[in-house]
Assembly symmetry: C2
Homo-oligomer: 157 residues x 2
């Protein structure tokens, strides 16, 4: 699994890994940041900073995490394309970083973002979670209207 080497990274981007400060958690556990040594790819939840809506889940590696902090624009790591994924680079629907959190185990990230274009999903919906399951029947239903037409934005036929 490819993880950005420090050679590729501009000086500023190395700060999180070289100089990260220790913050002592209660109950004696040390936790100084997301742990990319444990997992090269860390699941990252994107939440709309205004509405609180959960928009999507993607993955970050150390390099995309550093770039996100440095640029304040959310950068993921695409597992299917095996490279950095600057969210919105194709659609224009970038995510401006407002807040970034990591969880108690250091293996999940949460970003609160301003979602440009009002839609995070490549299918044109505000949120990727636009299908709800009815527990009584286990059937799924689409519960939202698309904000844009993917065929227009991505040029699909």
């Amino acid at each position: 699994m490819r993880v950005g080497s420090t050679d590729e990274m501009p000086n500023q981007a190395r700060i999180p890994y070289r100089m990260r400060r220790l913050s002592k958690a209660p109950h004696g556990r040390i936790m100084d940041g997301p742990d990319f040594e444990k997992s090269a790819l860390i699941p990252t939840i994107a939440q709309d900073a205004s509405s609180g809506k959960v928009l999507m889940l993607a993955y970050m590696n150390a390099e995309s995490y550093a770039e996100t902090l440095r640029t304040r624009r959310v950068c993921y790591y695409s597992r299917s394309r095996d490279k950095l994924w600057r969210k919105g680079e194709e659609s224009g629907n970038v995510q401006h970083l407002k807040h970034l959190y990591y969880d108690c185990d250091g293996d999940t990230l949460l970003v609160r973002v301003e979602q440009v274009g009002g839609a995070a999903c490549h299918e044109g919906y505000e949120s990727c979670f636009f299908r709800e399951v009815d527990p009584d029947t286990a059937a799924a239903h689409i519960i939202a209207e698309p904000v844009f037409d993917p065929a227009e934005v991505y040029g699909r036929s």
Copy 2:
């Protein structure tokens, strides 16, 4: 990776996999539910149904997913203990299922829950995301107060 076999599962729990209906997504793609054939363990975001706060991320396998739908109490699959994890079984802080969604790729779940006890995190915080990173310094800060003392709830010294 262990996934619950159908033999172990009560009849009702099989419904989601045997009878799940196809819902045709826009643009011709068929998506009939979370795809446990693609990933035996699916990351699951838990969000407080009232406040919209993102509480935690854990994983479900097919068996825990079926149990969650059937019981309306959120059941995950613990990767570290390698078994079903009925959230709150030790602390009493169970999660009542209000809504369940899956994403456009069928590889992530979102549950909106009523969090009993007001805290989802085993460290006593409402949310597991209680550490925020300052992009300017890459330093982390604890941004919440614990709701309970884990030593009391879990009997740690």
